[in-house]
């Protein structure tokens, strides 16, 4: 064999092996047919319409968060005006994004403006319409946008934590749609939407509790032993993350003895944000704010328990233990050797105790497992039937060259499935339809080439030159036809929901793989065949 051909053949063989490995070789190396099947099952992720489950579309009422910010500004502004002795009416919130101050004393207007620029930079001042001494503070778009973004992020994080409590495999929570502040929650295997909704609505308890024992225990038994079988009154055992041992390796789950009553709960936490450490430069820390009422409790308590460890407990699991380093009133800092990402995560946890705004359900869908199994069955039957029909036709119509097309088509499908597995793409029922369409449209490339070859042969060209011209002349047309369909699929992917996205993905990957198989692989097979055949032999096409 021509050495050029040999390298090409090896390349294709490597691709095939990689694909097959990606489909059935992971995670356990297959030693039996059962392992092959289970590997394949785990590699291909099935959409909700195929495996059954619930999906919810939730809208976060972000205007509540915006309104809260305006309320805070009203309080802050009132305090400022009082402190600086500026006479005016009480500041009032007149809309979600506007605060009005009426009857401001005329000679203090410049002081008022200073207050605004110093304390409320995200707002604009303008005269209140219809009032000679009134001023309107309006929230800037940039501030509104940032509040909306933070609220959405917190909502997604909180809902994700709560959904995790259901113990499902691979729940999916993400922002959804085009700017209407919607979140999609997909829960494969969850058959009861009522339960799912109640978990999302409630749940999520954040508490700060005093840790009684300075050291965590590896399991419950050890903790009980240390206290001779009975825990001290007013305490309980909770599990938590393992803290790194002195050698630096995490130890797995640990158990803590903590106070039963929390000193502060999620309701009292107004905000938490990460920032660079001022005292220990390369590290980050988390700053948090409590409500005034909680601060009144927290202050004396922290003073009383100075130097002792305090645990952040989320849904009865310990998240973090920090030492109380000083009296904390309404704002405090959690210091540790946090990287930016760790500080970010911690801030999210602290803030995720409660949903930042209320939520509304916009859509809900449940697919029972038998409905899903039905769909899988239909999809597979249709795929196999259409594949067989197309393959038989190609062989009958194009004879040996038809076999060429068969090989290319099968390889196309293998690459498509392997790509889906490698990208972790989700296979839905329309996705299976996309695979079937790939079969139909993919074979078009082969038809284009073969018809061109036939034409050249009819025109009197020798087989080698006919094949060469066939591929060359058809190539541009093949590119054109693939591009238009991929353009459609691309827009479908951008705008579509889950099942439609699956369709767009299968079709696009299928057509791209088709370029490879129908041009490169097909050509190789022809060249190999012609290389072996005697000079004047006819091409079977």
């Amino acid at each position: 064999m021509n050495s050029n051909l040999r390298w090409k053949a090896i390349f294709i063989a490597v691709v095939v092996v990689l694909c097959i490995y990606g489909l059935v070789g992971l995670p356990d190396f297959p030693t039996s047919w059962a392992t092959v099947k289970s590997n394949f099952g785990s590699r291909i992720r099935l959409g909700l319409d195929l495996q059954g489950g619930t999906h919810l579309i939730i809208q976060v009422q972000v205007n509540e968060a915006v309104r809260q910010e305006a309320d805070q500004v009203v309080l802050g502004l009132a305090r400022q005006l009082r402190d600086k002795n500026i006479a005016s009416d009480q500041p009032l919130r007149v809309s979600d994004t506007q605060v009005k101050v009426s009857n401001l004393s005329q000679d203090r207007v410049s002081d008022f403006r200073t207050i605004q620029t110093e304390n409320f930079p995200g707002w604009d001042i303008s005269p209140a319409p219809g009032e000679s001494n009134g001023y309107l503070l309006t929230m800037r778009q940039s501030l509104i946008a940032s509040i909306v973004q933070t609220t959405m992020d917190k909502a997604v994080e909180t809902i994700r934590r709560r959904v995790d409590q259901l113990g499902l495999t691979e729940p999916f929570v993400a922002p959804y749609g085009q700017g209407e502040n919607e979140i999609i929650v997909e829960m494969p295997g969850e058959g009861d939407p009522v339960r799912a909704r109640s978990v999302i609505q409630t749940g999520g308890q954040l508490e700060l509790r005093l840790v009684q024992d300075p050291v965590p225990y590896p399991n419950e038994a050890a903790a009980l032993q240390a206290h001779s079988g009975i825990l001290p009154p007013g305490t309980e055992l909770i599990p938590g993350k393992g803290s790194p041992s002195p050698t630096g390796t995490p130890t797995g789950e640990s158990w803590y003895v903590v106070d039963r009553t929390p000193i502060v709960t999620g309701r009292d936490l107004r905000s938490a944000a990460p920032r660079r450490s001022t005292t220990r430069p390369p590290y980050w820390e988390v700053e948090f704010h409590l409500s005034t009422e909680a601060a009144a409790r927290f202050g004396p308590w922290t003073e009383q328990n100075m130097g002792r460890p305090m645990a952040t407990v989320l849904d009865h699991r310990e998240e973090l233990v920090a030492t109380i380093n000083g009296r904390i009133e309404d704002s405090g800092v959690i210091e540790g050797q946090f990287s930016q990402e760790e500080a970010n995560d911690l801030a999210l946890v602290l803030g995720s105790g409660a949903l930042p705004a209320s939520i509304k359900y916009l859509a809900e869908s449940t697919v029972g497992p038998s409905l899903g199994a039905d769909s899988i069955r239909h999809g597979i039957q249709a795929s196999i039937t259409s594949l067989v029909v197309v393959l038989i036709f190609m062989v009958v119509y194009y004879r040996s060259s038809g076999v060429n097309a068969v090989v290319a088509l099968l390889l196309n499908l293998v690459i498509l499935m392997a790509a889906l597995a490698y990208f972790g793409a989700v296979l839905t029922l329309p996705g299976i339809a996309g695979v079937i369409l790939t079969i139909g449209m993919g074979v078009d490339s082969n038809v284009l080439i073969f018809e061109r070859i036939r034409e050249e042969l009819r025109g009197g060209k020798a087989p080698v030159s006919a094949v060469d011209l066939g591929f060359k002349r058809a190539f541009l047309t093949i590119i054109d036809t693939h591009v238009t369909t991929v353009v459609s699929a691309f827009f479908l992917f951008l705008f579509g929901t889950g099942p439609v996205k699956g369709f767009a993905i299968s079709l696009t990957i299928g057509l791209i793989a088709n370029l490879f198989t129908s041009v490169y692989v097909s050509r190789l097979i022809f060249d190999w065949h012609l290389g072996r055949a005697p000079r004047q032999a006819e091409l079977s096409i």
Binding site: E364, V367, S488
Partner: protein, 412 residues
């Protein structure tokens, strides 16, 4: 084997038949749309509730509809699902319109349906749970068994009962609805477990296979998005073709594609009792837009090539020849793709029926629109602007325009 080796059909002369056919199809389509008061949307576009219910006995659809109405649900649509591969499935789909109660009571429709069904099919045994209910999951069964401990496994019960629960649920999934708790023995569960299950559960008369509820907001948003996607995709393709060919070819191709979509939508309206327009149907429409473009491009590609080779000939002749040369490929590809979507239509199951219907029609119409509508449009425009026999310069994006008047002399 070869079907169309040496075709020699005068396509441009036959164009009028294709235009007549299209005119007819568009007319019946629009009439149907007019009579229906617009397009028939699926639940994801118009909102509402759809519940799939599975019965132990073949259900009396009329009496169910009557019972639902008695509950004050007003107009409900009930369809029996005809599953070719599972003829005794006793499955129906109950549909309720979006009543506009807003999202606070999103699942009000579904709970009312379940209540109505429970009243129409009363059953229940005191102290027992409905085994066929969707809210009984593997975990619930496992927890129950651990509590009852019928196999006396003691503390190590957890994983064994979870495994048995999985078998039981798999069996329920396969059978779809259990009519006798004793049947659970077929799932491989030991008899003591079956007895325990019988003590705690009864086989309800119906099972909810799935439900879909869409509020009004999502529906409206999705409609808006669907229109946007279609427009963007068409624009993208127009740009691509304008780059590859002259603008008139782009316009002709887009007109042909528009015509394909309109005919398909019209036929959907004609058969509106069986098919509805959902997001997956939009996906099918966009696919067929791409497919029809393909077809047209193949012909235009050949026209461009022949233009270079056959400079003396009138455009109509060049186009005829190009179509004849590509006829084999066109019929074959359309035929094969048609076969695959026909298989999908028959065997793809009820979820994909509307989708595959759109493709079945789309492929046929999309194929003939390339040589029956788009090509004649190009030739017609050329004749209108340039007079008979002149050629349209087809170039890749250059500014060369339509040359009116005389044929070019071939350089010696």
């Amino acid at each position: 084997m070869e079907f169309f080796g040496q075709a020699n059909i005068k396509w441009m002369e036959k164009a009028k038949y294709f235009f007549a056919l299209s005119g007819f199809l568009l007319l019946i389509g629009f009439t149907a749309m007019f009579r229906n008061g617009g397009l028939t949307y699926g639940i994801d576009f118009k909102g509402g509730t759809l519940v799939t219910v599975r019965f132990a006995q073949p259900p009396n659809v009329d009496s169910i509809r009557h019972d639902l109405e008695a509950q004050g649900l007003g107009q409900s649509t009930i369809q029996s699902i005809h599953d070719v591969t599972n003829p005794n499935s006793n499955e129906i789909v109950i549909g309720l319109e979006e009543k506009g109660q807003g999202e606070d009571a999103l699942d009000a429709g579904k709970t009312t349906i379940i209540k109505a069904l429970s009243q129409s099919f009363p059953s229940g045994e005191p102290g027992k749970k409905d085994f066929n209910s969707e809210s009984i999951t593997t975990k619930d069964i496992a927890d129950y068994l651990v509590g009852k401990d019928p196999l006396s496994l003691g503390l190590t019960a957890g994983s064994r009962y979870t495994q048995i629960a999985q078998q039981i649920v798999a069996y329920r999934t396969g059978k779809r609805i259990i009519t006798d708790m004793g049947d659970l023995g077929n799932s491989g569960a030991p008899p003591q477990v079956v007895a325990a299950m019988r003590a705690g559960f009864y086989p309800g008369p119906f099972a909810i296979g799935g439900a879909e509820i869409v509020g009004p907001k999502v529906g409206a948003e999705l409609r808006r998005q669907a229109v946007l996607v279609t427009l963007y995709a068409l624009a993208g393709m127009l740009v691509y073709i304008a780059i590859r060919f002259e603008w008139i070819y782009g316009v002709a191709a887009v007109v042909a594609v528009f015509h394909d979509v309109l005919i398909t939508l019209g036929l959907f309206s004609l058969f509106h009792q069986y098919f509805e327009i959902s997001l997956t149907v939009i996906a099918a429409l966009l696919t067929l837009v791409g497919y029809s473009m393909n077809d047209t491009i193949v012909i235009f590609d050949r026209v461009r090539e022949n233009n270079r080779l056959m400079r003396r000939e009138p455009l109509a002749e060049i186009v005829n020849r190009s179509i004849n040369q590509t006829l084999s490929r066109t019929i074959l590809t359309s035929g094969l793709t048609f076969l695959t979507v026909a298989v999908l239509f028959v065997m793809g199951g009820p979820a994909l029926r509307s989708f595959s219907f759109a493709l079945v029609i789309g492929i046929v119409v999309g194929t003939y629109s390339s040589f029956g509508i788009a090509a004649p449009l190009v030739v017609g425009w050329n004749n209108f602007r340039g007079g008979r026999g002149s050629k349209v310069a087809v170039s890749s994006g250059s500014a060369a325009g339509i040359k009116p008047g005389t044929a070019k002399r071939v350089p010696a």
